[in-house]
Symmetry: C2
Subunit: 220 residues, 2 copies
Amino acid sequence: MRHFVEELGELKNRLLAMGALVESAIYRSVQCLAQKDANLAQQILQDEARINQMEIEIDELATRLLALQQPMAADLRFLTAAIKINNDLERMGDLAVNIVERALALRPEPVVQPLIDIPRMAQLTQSMVRKSLDAFVRGDAELARSVLLADDAVDDLRDSIYEELVRFMQEDSAHVRPGVSLMFVARSLERLADHATNIAEDVLFLVQGVEVRHHAEARD
Amino acid sequence: MRHFVEELGELKNRLLAMGALVESAIYRSVQCLAQKDANLAQQILQDEARINQMEIEIDELATRLLALQQPMAADLRFLTAAIKINNDLERMGDLAVNIVERALALRPEPVVQPLIDIPRMAQLTQSMVRKSLDAFVRGDAELARSVLLADDAVDDLRDSIYEELVRFMQEDSAHVRPGVSLMFVARSLERLADHATNIAEDVLFLVQGVEVRHHAEARD
């Protein structure tokens, strides 16, 4: 049997590999919105299946390490954080798929509006995902804290996008269907940002042992 | 220090108390939609703060039990399931709050339509939540499996509600804003059903040691 420290390293590497796949799925799902590329969509669906498989394997590894060892406080924190981050990443893969599904639903409709502020929201969200994973690798509390702040900016952006989309749909009944799809895309982006925030909170807990959950109310 | 078995019982009781609170929050959030009662809304917001606190305490208890003991396989499965169910319940509290917020946003608008099939969807979702928690208490795999089946019915109902709401919004631009709110309510109900499904899957894993996650693709 390998040394416990090596096993922890393996767990971390697997989480990072899964994170990289999730990050790329998000990036490409947003590309799908603009480019409506069916091949790209297919790739993301395949990646999601891999992400789901990775989640199960990481969960098994983390549970095995909990069972085989009597972990020290810091290792225990790492293992429970790993289980949570794993769960967040899996949900993020699902959200990328949701965005792709909406993109495909939009396909028959003309892209009437230049997608409003959605590309900006997508960019901000992707940067949060990247930073939360970097913060996890480096144990960087400062970087993790910057993710929590960015979440508020994403929420503001979502509010203004919703308002714009309501006006857009009110203008013309033909705008209702694409407007609804774009609203759900904005919603998925907001939730991706929430998951990145969860990861950042777990990193802060890992690094500082400080409980920072529920810093913002009524997230979901 | 109390006996490990007693501590596990305490953990289970706390999860059930939290589950009862979540169940009631969901029930009342849907009432808010029909009755637009600001006091009721306030109560749900207060309950959510309690739910958040319970989540942190349950997490601490579960983590402490993982650390203090060298749990046997079955206990370890119970502890990791408890951590996941705890997380699901907390998110469900957030979703009840989301429904309340949408209900309040609807307040200035006349309830033009009889809320379409949303009350039926709410009823089905509540029954899934109740059954998933009952299945957890009793370790009842049959009941847990019935929750997985009900999830498909909820998804079908959601599809037909979306279609109806799109038509409703297309009819009249004054319908767009309330239509969007109702769409997000349907979305929150769907996600509540997903969380109930997660709990049912954890119960099956606990009872049978069988991995049933990802039985349906692209949930979120």
